[in-house]
Amino acid sequence: MADITFDHVTKSFSGEVFALDDLTLHVPDGQFLILVGPSGCGKTTALRIVAGLERPTMGDVRIGEHSMNGVSPRDRDIAMVFQNYALYPHMTVFKNLAFGLKERHTPKDEIKRRVGEVSAMLGLDEMLKRRPAQLSGGQRQRVAMGRALVREPKAFLMDEPLSNLDAKLRVQMRAELKRLHQQLGITTVYVTHDQVEAMTLGERVVVMSAGKAQQIGTPQEVYRQPANLFVAGFIGSPAMNLLRGTVMDGHVVAGDLTFPCGDLGTQDVVVGIRPDCMTPLTGGRPTVEFQVDVVEPLGEQVVVHGSVAGSNVHSGAEEMEEIPLAIEGSRAAATAVFEATSEPSPGDRLRLGVTPERIHLFDAHTGDAIEQTGKWGAG
């Protein structure tokens, strides 16, 4: 068991592109830390540097007290779970689990005992004699986990371990992972691009983009107080609505939405509103006119895509394949989530109320969050 420290770690490939740009981070002993971000943000590179599969261009990674520069992967006493599991195809499940112990010259009966323990814990007893090709995706995933567990390493490194599973199994394994961590309490660094995994699994979340840590905090912190536009746009599903706005005379104006904001001077801002803060219950709150395009009923809730007056701002976290809904002229795409008691139909114009305390403001030039008093979770 050990803590992991990134000390100004930089990694550049061929001297130009920075996969990792001056990352400083401390993972305390026993913490479940998530590195989350879009593909190419450097999260996997960070993990591979801890594993010793890549060397940092500059900086230092420490596991426990020891600097890991120049230490080979096998001497780091860490275990890694790969996205494609990387099970040895020519070995049985038993041999896959035992391989790491065998390489470390563990006595035979000790190997048997530990493999037995882990296979019982993960429900692999029936499959010890099978080969990876004869297992289902979920079973392979368990073997990959088991291979990491059996070594009793100082830390676990996981590179998108659930992304090859189907949706149902993923939810199940997610809970299982959390249970295992609660049970064993081993320091874990977990890489994912799925912000739901990040929110549900992590004790602490590092939101990464372009090789930099954009924000480090608990899942609640990164959700409730996003440090900048990128985090605001990345965390949360459906994504936060981001509108261009201006501060004038103590009020923010964005399209037809106006609300008081305290003394911020005159400046351009970005107004961020979570979809679940735009609801039909007006009740004296600031309102916005919302034109409905698409309605997605989800049982308890309904997700409504449409447009409001004003214009959008990009956070940089939008997925490439996202297809913008057809928006006419000077209107901004927006999404609202509310109780399914009233289900609007396409073409409707709704008057939605917005909770002012839950509106986020960002500097239009730097993208950094503007501190406001009186927001939930902030004060």
Partner: protein
């Protein structure tokens, strides 16, 4: 009532289709069959001659059907020449060269495939470039080196220079690069050394490539003639290919015995080819090099 016969018909159709697939005729066969026959004629001629009397072999036009089968040609070969010794020599050399190639080409191929080191690409291209140099060009320098090593007229002269080759390095490097690198990374994290990764993970997964290399090296070494000819003098160190020439004199050739010896020397090669044909063809297909 109609369901039952229909099902049977469907089954029959499937059966017919299978048959069709087995005897599928294509116009290409009109071209391929004559070529195949042309390729077979020398082999048939060899087999026929090996069963003729010396007189028959000298008839003109040559006869393709012997009057009597002279099986004693085969026992004559074994009686007149140390054929068993040559067979043993060839086997020793071939086995040693095959094992050497599997071992050393694996090591070099793995280094070129996975380990990053300064000048890797340049060295690899140099290794590949040696494939373009005809053997006749390096024959004399190699001879001088082998003589310095004191190996002339020993089986060592046939083994040592052939223990590794550019072809094998290239073949295995190409194959190793197709294996998922995560397997090797997982093994390294699990505690394996570079050599451990090669021997416990990479090689067990490289069966087809290793088999291909073994088969091709076997054929090359077994059939090699020129290099043994210039390095081996004593008949007791002859390989089969050298031994065959003793039936070929300056003034006359004992054709029936030569062909009988030829047939016997070809048996292991033919056997291997039939068993491992698949790997042999794959080797040529994957590397684009001649076998």
């Amino acid at each position: 009532m109609t369901g039952q016969p229909l099902a049977a018909t469907a089954h029959e159709v499937e059966h017919l289709r299978k048959r069709e697939r087995r005897f599928l005729f294509s116009p290409w066969h009109l071209v391929l069959i004559p070529i195949a026959i042309a390729m077979l004629i020398p082999l048939v001629w060899m087999l026929v001659t090996s069963l003729q009397t010396l007189g028959e072999t000298r008839q003109y036009p040559p006869t393709l059907v012997p009057h009597t089968l002279q099986w004693k040609n085969y026992s004559d070969v074994l009686r007149l020449a140390p054929f068993g010794q040559w067979f043993l020599n060839t086997t020793i050399v071939t086995v040693a060269v095959v094992i050497g190639n599997l071992l050393f080409c694996s090591l070099a191929g793995y280094a070129f495939a996975r380990i990053k080191f300064f000048g890797r690409e340049v060295v690899f291209i140099l290794v590949l470039a040696t494939l373009m140099i005809p053997f006749q060009v390096v024959m004399i320098p190699t001879f001088l080196i082998v003589r310095k090593l004191g190996l002339i007229d020993t089986l060592g002269a046939l083994i040592v220079p052939n223990l590794a080759g550019a072809f094998g390095i290239f073949l295995l490097r190409q194959f190793f690069r197709t294996l998922p690198v995560e397997l090797e990374e997982a093994a390294r994290i699990d505690g394996a050394s570079r050599l451990g990764v090669l021997f416990k993970i990479v090689l067990p997964l490289s069966g087809p490539a290793l088999a291909t290399l073994a088969v091709i090296t076997f054929l090359w070494t077994w059939n090699d003639f020129l290099w043994p000819l210039i390095t081996i003098y004593s008949p007791s160190h002859y390989t089969l290919q050298l031994g065959l020439t003793t039936f070929q004199g300056a003034h006359q050739t004992v054709m029936n015995l030569l062909m009988a010896a030829n047939v016997m020397s070809m048996i292991p090669v033919l056997l291997l080819f039939f068993i491992a044909q698949r790997y042999f063809i794959r080797g040529i297909a994957t590397t684009g090099l001649k076998g």
